[in-house]
Symmetry: C2
Subunit: 119 residues, 2 copies
């Protein structure tokens, strides 16, 4: 799957595709087409997320930050686990393609140990 070109031209919802997954990392391609997070909605994730815009344009709001982060192709940001954030805007004129690398807590979340206790 080519990450920049292989997706439907019409999308009523954001499209999430897992590109690669291993025990320590998960890579997703996300395609937005003018989509934004619903008003008042915040992502609050167990995993950290390094995210980059591949095409299009977006504004990412980090909770507590004075202003949103403008992201154009090649721009990137790491969002620590449980750092609340939302997508304020993506450009309506073309698809915005994100590459997201989830890492960290994915390996062994506190509530689900990866190795059982041996007694």
């Amino acid at each position: 799957m080519n990450l920049l070109y292989d997706f439907p031209t019409e999308l009523s919802q954001e499209l999430f595709s897992t590109v690669f997954a291993s025990p320590d990392v998960r890579i997703e391609r996300i395609v937005s087409h003018g989509h934004a997070s619903p008003p008042g909605f915040w992502y609050d994730q167990d995993e950290a997320e390094w995210v980059m815009v591949l095409s299009g344009a977006a504004r990412l709001q980090i909770e507590g930050a004075e202003s949103a982060i403008e992201l154009r192709p090649g721009d990137h940001v790491n969002i620590p686990a449980h750092q609340r954030h939302r997508v304020e805007w993506t450009t309506p004129g073309e698809p915005t393609v994100w590459l997201a690398v989830f890492h960290g807590a994915s390996v062994a979340p506190e509530d689900s140990p990866s190795t059982p206790d041996v007694t």
Copy 2:
């Protein structure tokens, strides 16, 4: 640092920049400008590497594979640890920008345990 635009226009060698690093993942931006691996040279890495071409074009040879993999922007491949590979060609007419996500053995290589034995 914008990954697509922030680099010198003239590069005598490939340019490697660490974009993000954590205990479980390391993200690098690599810029090639017509560079290829020296004849007979093979990369043999302790870490697995998921790699994507962001701009330009490249041919990646995996040892034992019949033909090289053509990579254009949006194309990607995961190279397991110790899978020998080389860059056969990158386009001379423009920079080829790679995004590489190193993962796996980076966390705890077999020869360097991440936690000391307690005796």
